[in-house]
Symmetry: none
Subunit: 230 residues, 2 copies
Amino acid sequence: MASTKILIIDDEQDVIDLLSLHLRKAGFALSMATDGATGLRMAREEAPALIILDLMLPKMPGLEICKVLKTDAATRDIPVLMLTAKAEEIDRIVGLEFGADDYVTKPFSPRELVLRVNAILRRGKGESTEEKKLSIGPITLDPARHHVDVGGKPVRLTSVEFKLLSMLMRRQGRVQERDRLLNEVWGYESIIDTRTVDTHVRRLRKKLGKAADAIETVRGFGYRIREAKR
Amino acid sequence: MASTKILIIDDEQDVIDLLSLHLRKAGFALSMATDGATGLRMAREEAPALIILDLMLPKMPGLEICKVLKTDAATRDIPVLMLTAKAEEIDRIVGLEFGADDYVTKPFSPRELVLRVNAILRRGKGESTEEKKLSIGPITLDPARHHVDVGGKPVRLTSVEFKLLSMLMRRQGRVQERDRLLNEVWGYESIIDTRTVDTHVRRLRKKLGKAADAIETVRGFGYRIREAKR
DNA sequence: CCCGCTTGTCAAAGATGCGTCACGATACGC
DNA sequence: GCGTATCGTGACGCATCTTTGACAAGCGGG
C-alpha cells in the first residue's frame, strides 16, 4: 500500500492523536485540519483518498462541511467517514443523505475504525460495490435511494428494517448469527437483547409479504437470505 | 468453536468469577492472572486469542501492561479488551490510547461482554481465515453458509448434525473415536451418553441418502469419513 | 400538545431438535 | 455355531429455540 493519504478534520487533539496512531500503524499518510475552513481547503489542495470528518466542529458543523465537499466537483468523489457522538444521529445522516459514505460512533474501537477505512477505500477501487442494487428473487434493494420493492411494488421499510435487510442481502446465502447482526445493524454500542433481532426479522417478513420466505431461519445459529436462483 | 482461549488479568475475585461464569458458558477456555507481571508472562506463554485486562491493578497499572503487550512481538497481535471503572475514564483511554482494541465499563452486563468478545474475535478471523468449502465425493459442505449438498441437491441439517459432519470432513480418512467427537462437537466436558453419537450419525446417514456410506463405522473405535476418490 | 410511527422488551405459544432408552441386528472371539 | 459386545434403529418426552402478539417508551411531525 503506497501510502494512501487520509485527511482528518477534527478539533479534539485526543481524537486526532488516536486516529493518527492507528492509521499510521496501518500504513496511511495523514493530513490534519482542526477547523472546517482549513479542512475544506486542504481537501481541495491535497486530494486525499479519504476524509475523516467529525460531526461536531466549532463554527462550521460537520454536516455543512460534508455538504460542501459533496457539491464541489474537486472533492465530490472523495469518500467521507463521519465521526458522530451519538448513535441516534446516525439515522439523520443516512436519512438526509449528506453524502457521507460511512460513519463511526464515538467512542469507537480503533480496530473497527481501521477496518472501515479499509473497507471504504476498497469499495472505491472496486468501483461501485456500494451503489449497486441488490436483488434476490422478487426483492430489489437500492442502497443509494434507500428503497426496496418486492415484485415491482415498493415496500416501506423503517431504518432498522432496511439495514437488516441490506445486511442480509449483501451476505446472501451466508448465515448471520444474531450477535453479528446486532453488531453490524445496531452498531458498536448496542447492548440490546438478541431476541430483538427476531422481532425485527418478523416485521421484515411481514412487510415482504409473499417474499417472506426468502429469509430463512437457521436454528441455533441465526438467519440467512435465500440464494438467488440462477 | 473449539475452545478459544481467553486470558483474564484482574485482581478482584468477584470480577473474575463473573467473567469466568459467562465466558465458560459461552464456550471459551480461560486462563487467569491476578497481577500484571503474571499476566504478561501468561500472555507470552499461552498465546490466548484475547486478553481481558482490568485498568485498575495493584502495582502495575493496566495501561502500562497494555503498552508492553502491544510492544512485544509475541503478544502484539492479541486483541485486548479493557475493563474500566468509570465512564469518565473512557475519554482518557481513547485519548491516550495504548492500543486496546475495545473496552467495557464496569459494571458491565455479562451479555454485553460476551457480545464484545465475540465481535472482536470475529473481526480477527474475518479477513484472514476465510472458511473454506469442504467436499468429499458427492458431499459438499460450506461452513460460511451453513449449507450442505449431496450430488448438487441441498440437504437440511440440524445444528449438531452439521457440526458432526464438518468435524468428520475436516479430519477425513482418520478415525474419530466417540469421546473425541463428543468433546469437539458437543463442546467442553460434555456429560452425554456416548450412544448419542450413534443416533446422530444415524440421522446424518439418513439425510445424506445415497452418500450415507461415506461415513464408515470402525468397530470398537468410532467413525471416519471415506477418503475423497479422485 | 397530541398523535402516530418506530423500536426494544416481554411472555406465552408453537415448533423443532436433542438425548435417552429399549430392542433388534450385526460383527467378532472362541 | 454360540455368546457377547458393539452398533443400528425407531420412538418418545423434555428442553431449547423461534415465533407471535401485545405493550410501552421515545421521537418527530402536525
